[in-house]
Amino acid sequence: MLEAAVFYTLAVLILGLGILVISARSAVHSVLFLVVNFLLVAILYVTLSAQFVAVIQVLVYAGGIVVLYLFVVMLVSLKRAPEQHADTRRLGVTGAVLAGAVLLEVIGIVVSGAARSDAPAGARGAGVPEAISDPMLNTEQIGWVLYTEYLIPFEVASMLLLVAMIGAIVLAKKNL
């Protein structure tokens, strides 16, 4: 009961803020909504007892990436509205309609899946040591998986970040 209430509340807020993000006229407002959206998503993660991911979501997304967006929005002080010019060939509305159709289809799948209720409950992936029984151990377990089984992807991700950092510097510098 409580769980359902929390979920529906969060879901409504998340979706509503998502719609606000894409519909806000001002980019700064979009960013604001996006931050709040991310924080709500983090709370959703907490309800799923994924504290580490939730904190990371706040720390990196809300505290890092979106700040970057905010900077850019502030730096790009536009002399004319960015949406002033529209190409005649763009398929925006068609795309939105088609996307809605996809959503309907997916929800259809979900509903039919719920009706069948043959979801693979309890099916566990291979190679994972134990269940997430104790929320207090979440971080430790993720660290364990990340630094043993997924060590190489982890290092690759770090390289990706390094490359992205260098790339961003190169792009942003006026003259190196």
Partner: protein, 332 residues
């Protein structure tokens, strides 16, 4: 019901009130200490030795007219102070004032990370406040502030990782307990980290000598130049709350939190007569005093010096400290 709702709500209420009162008194304390440092008396009119000044100031701010500039983005202008204050207060939910669950709202396994994450949200308030004012000095100040915040956050977080390595847990309660087990405060095991976190805390809270976002001589009032009344008060609160948070974190991580000095020495057992929350508050006040002391002592950095210190000194030292800690951890 009692344990899940009533007690936490009570705790939150007490904590919020305590923090807000502490902030008001800290303003008074700052004024008094600065005055003494400059051989003045400070506020003397309201109450004995001006003690009631702490109550008068908030009342003044609440009663003042709340001005919104015409060119401002009103909505954001309103939200910005809230976004600044809320994270600062939220952080207190994980600060333990004693070993018993009664002394803290929550002890989560990612406590330290939580603090770092939530404080990083605080930057929005500053940026949005400066931007939404639609005025050049606040905008410049907010850019400065956010750049400074992000830069020093890296150094501080990296340093905190070395402390986490030492304690082996992210939980703040766990960190304190680790210091009990170690028999010594981490401030002695990690002196470099101690100093780094403190300096980083100075910068993150825009305190002297890193108070460039609020440099009156350059930017009149900083990012909240256009603010007044209650909204200004919120910014003000947030700033001082942040100072208290930093002090609390440093006290917990490096000075043993709620524990008395030398917790393993039986001869000092009489010190346990003083309750743990008093120990922690005492340590926090010690740091607050140091904050004010530094403000009274040191001149302001130049902006490029500030950035150079952050990126070329603190971050390398933090990384070096982390590496050495890791090596020692592996070897010992």
């Amino acid at each position: 019901m009692l344990e899940t709702f009533i007690i936490p709500l009570l705790q939150i209420a007490v904590l919020l009130n305590a923090v807000l009162v502490a902030v008001t008194f800290m303003v008074l304390m700052e004024r008094k200490v600065m005055a003494w440092a400059q051989a003045r008396l400070g506020p003397m009119r309201v109450g004995p030795h001006g003690i009631l000044q702490a109550i008068v100031d908030p009342i003044k701010l609440i009663l003042k007219e709340d001005i919104t500039p015409v060119a401002a983005d009103k909505w954001v202008f309103t939200v910005a102070p809230i976004m600044s204050l809320v994270p600062a207060l939220v952080v207190f939910s994980v600060v333990p004032f004693g070993p018993d669950p009664l002394y803290y709202v929550a002890d989560i396994n990612v406590g330290l990370l939580f603090i770092v994450a939530v404080t990083s949200i605080g930057v929005y308030g500053i940026i949005l406040g400066g931007w939404s004012s639609n005025s050049k000095y606040p905008l410049l100040a907010s850019l400065r502030a956010s750049a400074q915040l992000i830069s020093y956050e890296i150094a501080v977080t990296m340093t905190l990782v070395s402390v986490i390595l030492t304690s082996g847990t992210l939980s703040l309660v766990g960190i304190v307990e680790a210091q009990r087990e170690a028999g010594v405060w981490f401030g002695f095991i990690q002196p470099v980290a101690f100093v780094l976190v403190f300096i980083g805390g100075l910068a993150e809270t825009n305190r002297v000598p890193f108070d460039l976002p609020e440099a009156e001589t350059e930017l009149t009032g900083g990012f909240h130049t256009e603010y007044s009344g209650m909204r200004f008060a919120l910014f003000f609160l947030a700033e001082y709350a942040n100072i208290i948070v930093i002090s609390a974190i440093v006290a917990i991580m490096f000075l043993g939190g709620w524990m008395r000095p030398f917790p393993n020495v039986e001869a000092l057992a009489f010190l346990d007569l003083i309750p743990p929350w008093i120990w922690l508050i005492g340590k926090i006040f010690l740091f607050l005093y140091v904050f004010i002391w530094i403000r009274a002592t040191l001149p302001r950095y130049r902006y490029d010096q500030l950035m150079r210190l952050g990126w070329k000194v603190l971050i390398p030292i933090a990384i070096g400290n982390l590496v050495i800690t890791g090596i020692v951890k592996v070897l010992v």
